[in-house]
Amino acid sequence: MEKFKKIESNAIPLPMVNVDTDMIIPKQFLKTIKRTGLGKNLFYELRYDETDAPIDSFVLNQDKYKDSQILITGKNFGCGSSREHAPWSILDYGIKCIIASSFADIFYNNCFKNGILPIKLDESEVTKLQKAAENSLSFIIDLENQKISYFDKNINYEVSFELDKAKKTSLLEGLDDIGLTLAKVNHISDFENKQKSRTPWLYSQQIK
């Protein structure tokens, strides 16, 4: 996984609540056996009409947000299915940071596995940032110092955010989770031996 670096970009405002993973990437795109190439279908049904033509009014189709790396959205973002195609499509599009007042658990967790930073802020803060995003102001996301900053009419605004330490390290260092766990393989083997004597039937289960 790539290391998470400081982001400087404007942000896409998407003031909708309960955006579900079907909305982020509809099922017809889940038939792939690859992780890449999903960005063009991100928010497909909001973004394109029945003839696959872009819907001009949708925010992702507006030129000024073409290269945005930040998405600012409503509460409970990413609810619904566990499909990792949702963060894959977001990342493939070029978005590396999502700001919302809350996220669904599985989606939130999936973001960190893909180098995406989901930031939780109070709803009132999110609303302010939405306004700034609508004016296409440029934001700096500084994960190291856990700060979002932007200039509005020559005033520098700073918002700090909370983040679990393990998740922060994982993003900053681009860690390989599986490698880290496998380094503790002795603990896993010890556990299995202990479990085998305590609940032996878990190890004797066979297809009849």
Partner: protein, 467 residues
């Protein structure tokens, strides 16, 4: 005496491999269910990392999301779907994982076949790259949905790195009125706590109304925990659980069954165990429930009206209600029972079990599906289908005008050919009424199997108790 513990606390403690310095824990995973949609990239990752599957025999795979529910002998016509299913079969062969193929009568939706095969047992940790893995919590197993990166992590290490969730108790007191089902309970719960109400929690369902449910009903309740935001839902194991699992193919052998049963019963939450949050709901207040909007929390009782956004004071909520009503093509204050449906879907991991088909068949028997309605029944597994046919349920359905299909996820997520056309309205026993879930522009109303069957007969949303 030690501190009283919840079922969740006990399972967590029994699976703790080690605690990391950063506050996370490595948790052992007893069983892993795998399907075609969320696994190919995980197997690819193993290959790239030159890693193997640690416990192939703790892993069970099947194809369910992408497969056709008609003309099975012709195979899968969609080349992308076929490639995904073939890839799973190939990956399973390479790693020595049991794969139940489309032609195996045990094939079905992962969350139906796990319990059916006795692969799901109390006290286990079970994961699957599918959010409805919460279903298995009905057995007192800690079961939750994971993304593909975690699927790879489990394949390689048989563990996951986790942070412990909080405990929530949802207590359904009292007796459920006649004709009210597990689906109505869980829809009521989601309406009460909202789709983010359970975020960060593991929910334990308690109370007389939960205890009185069959294992099938308990699975329906736990299945939709994720629609309430909780990754896992749990019900303490009891005699019904032990009875259900007896003699199933993967269940503990006879000589170990007593030992296993004793352990299972010891897992029930202790008297006086502390929950971070408790919600009480009175079962006697619940009547059949239906969704009107595009979020599973948009729930009303069948005798109610389509809500009016003007009555909502919260501006954000009001806006999303207006959007939902427009999408659903509904007018505020319309009685639910006047809403006509075009399609009916009975099936899914929420309601595709034998008990669900029996409930629907009682309504269907000696009645006809309304002329303008296309209704399909999709059993949750090959064994559910076989059982239903032995009981003659297929004949009842076919005589009524329902289509009798092959098992799979089908129109719950419409990845195969079973889908709604734009603006088509469907009475569905599935779990999600999101925009486009059952097909672009399709309009979904979630409800129980009896309610969906009643909608098929009357051609509009109906109270199954009045049939």
């Amino acid at each position: 005496m030690s501190t009283p513990k919840t079922l969740y606390d006990k399972i967590w403690n029994d699976h703790l491999v080690s605690e990391n310095v950063d506050g996370t824990s490595i948790i052992y995973i007893d069983r892993h269910l795998v399907h075609e949609v969320t696994s190919p990239q995980a197997f690819e990752g193993l290959k790239i990392g030159n890693r193997s599957v640690r416990k192939p025999n703790f892993t069970l795979a099947t194809a369910d999301h992408n497969i056709p529910t008609t003309n099975r002998d012709e195979g899968i016509s969609d080349p992308e779907s076929k490639l995904q299913v073939d890839t799973l079969e190939e990956n399973c062969r390479e790693h020595g994982i049991t794969f139940l193929s489309m032609s195996d009568k045990r094939q079905g939706i992962v969350h139906i076949i796990g319990p059916e095969q006795g692969f799901t047992q109390p006290g286990m940790t079970i994961v699957c790259g599918d959010s409805h893995t919460s279903t298995h919590g009905a057995f007192g197993a800690l079961a939750w949905g994971i993304g593909t990166s975690e699927v790879e992590h489990v394949l390689a290490t048989q563990t996951l790195v986790q942070t412990k969730a909080k405990n929530m108790q949802i207590n359904i007191q009292g007796e459920l009125p006649l004709g009210v089902t597990a689906k109505d309970i869980v829809l009521k719960i989601i309406q009460t706590i909202g789709t983010a109400g359970g975020t960060g929690y593991v929910i334990e369902y308690t109370g007389d109304a939960i205890k009185s449910l069959t294992m099938e009903g308990r699975m329906t309740v736990c299945n939709m925990s994720i629609e309430a935001g909780a990754r896992a839902g749990l019900i303490s194991p009891d005699e019904k659980t032990i009875e259900y699992l007896k003699g199933r193919p993967f269940s503990p052998a006879e000589n170990e069954y007593q030992l296993a049963s004793d352990y299972w019963l010891s897992l029930a939450s202790d008297e006086g165990a502390a929950y971070d949050k408790t919600v009480n709901i009175d079962a006697s207040d619940i009547i059949p429930q239906v969704t009107w909007g595009t979020s599973p929390e948009d729930v009303v009782s069948i005798d109610g009206l389509v809500p009016n956004p003007e009555d909502e004071s919260d501006e954000t909520k009001k806006k999303s209600m207006i959007r939902a009503l427009e999408y659903m093509g509904l007018v505020p204050n319309t009685p639910l029972k006047e809403i006509k449906v075009d399609k009916v879907f009975i099936g899914s991991c929420t309601n595709g079990r034998i008990e669900d088909l029996r409930a629907a068949s009682k309504i269907a028997k000696n009645r006809k599906v309304a002329d303008h309605v296309n209704a399909i029944i999709v059993p949750g597994s090959g064994l559910v289908k076989q059982q239903a046919e032995e009981e003659g349920l297929d004949k009842i359905f076919i005589e009524s005008g329902f289509e009798w299909r092959e098992p799979g996820c089908s129109m719950c997520l419409a990845m195969n050919a079973d889908k709604l056309k734009p603006q088509e309205r469907c009475a569905s026993t599935s779990n999600r009424n999101f925009e486009g879930r059952q097909g672009r522009g399709g309009r979904t109303h979630l409800m129980s199997p009896a309610m969906a069957a009643a909608a098929a007969i009357n051609g509009k949303l109906s109270d199954s108790r009045e049939i």
